[in-house]
């Protein structure tokens, strides 16, 4: 019966379709995601649809999420579209040597900085075009919430990311002055 047919559908394919539709219609509905597989789909779709900015604050580009060829491709294409991409990584020295996203970052000359973590409360996040975001509740479990159209929260996260960037810049300047 139809039920049998239905069970053959790849769950992630359904999730991907749904995320794409949410982006397409600018839905303000919040999506929970509770596995690295969901995270991959969300990040890839958000990169694919980004137009102006793509800011990512993460631990060390772990292959569990970032070791996905589709994400690497989406990052690469976003860079080709002149999307302003910046990665802030907490532990750059822990980035896997075989990271394909790191390779794209190097190849495309994408800016990558080191910052954090925050002392009191630390969560990773990614924010795109100042209105789409993915915010991790738990770094280990890779559970997160995401929203494809949340201008207020997106703006806040964008502001925070830019503050982090300016701090990094100030530090660099200071380091340049003080040998």
């Amino acid at each position: 019966m139809e039920q049998g047919k239905e069970s053959n559908v790849d769950p992630m394919q359904g999730f991907r379709l749904m995320v794409d539709m949410l982006i397409e219609i600018d839905s303000p509905v919040r999506v929970g995601n509770n596995s690295p597989a969901h995270a991959k789909v969300l990040i890839e779709s958000m990169f694919r649809h980004s137009k102006e900015t793509a800011y990512v604050y993460c631990g060390h580009l772990s292959n569990e999420v970032w070791g996905d060829a589709r994400i690497a491709d989406a990052v690469s294409k976003a860079a080709d579209r002149n999307v302003k991409i910046v990665f802030i990584v907490q532990r750059p020295h822990e980035i896997p040597s075989d990271s394909i996203v790191k390779r794209v970052i190097d190849e495309k000359g994408i800016r990558m900085e080191k910052f954090g973590p925050f002392k009191n409360d630390d969560h990773h996040f990614a924010v795109f075009d100042g209105r789409r975001y993915r915010f991790e509740d738990d770094d280990n479990a890779k559970t997160a919430v995401a929203c494809m159209n949340a201008p207020d929260q997106g703006k806040n996260l964008n502001g925070l990311f830019e503050s982090m960037l300016s701090l990094v810049g100030n530090e660099r300047k200071a380091a340049g002055r003080v040998p």
Partner: protein, 220 residues
Amino acid sequence: MKGRLRAVFPDFDLSSHASEVVCVSIGANLLLPAAPSILSKLLVGIDTNPKHIVSRTLVKNTGLTDYVMCKDFETIGRLASNINSIRERCDRMPGLVWKTIDFMSAFLGFFLLWSGWVGDPHVSKWCGLLILPSVFAVLRPFVIYLFFRLRLSWRIMRILANAAKRREEAEARNTAQVMPQALEEFMELANSEIQNMRSRPAGKREKNPSRGGHRRSKKH
């Protein structure tokens, strides 16, 4: 009415309304992802506005372990057959008992009409009122049909009204209007931390774990 109709999906307990849920049209060019457990019971929701479909489905499936795609026309077909089966059941309700009563009352009515009102002048004219059962017998199918249709409509309305309420609650919980608590707290703490860092002279930032400092335990 449309506002109510679009409310059928989220958090809606279909199992308790296995043969009652009904709804409406669908945007013809959309795929409808929904959980199989819903689809197996679904008589069906659906809407002309793609935003509603996605929101509903998403709300329902936020936990997301299983998905299904189904072309909307298939779903509509299932809906149609379910509605028909409800209607047929309503039409079958009277059964043999009612048919017997119909026959008896019609026979009695016509007999009294002939013998009481038109025939024997000694019998009270009021006996003619006994013809009413036969009138009822003639009208009964229409009355019963109307009754069941009205009852069905009322049930549907009630279900949809409940669903509308549930939808509102679900949306309040799930839309971006409500900021996730963890995000709110993180923004607050991170911003204040950044302010602190800015107020310190550049190059004298407190050490953190990535730079050999200590990291306090996470709140979340």
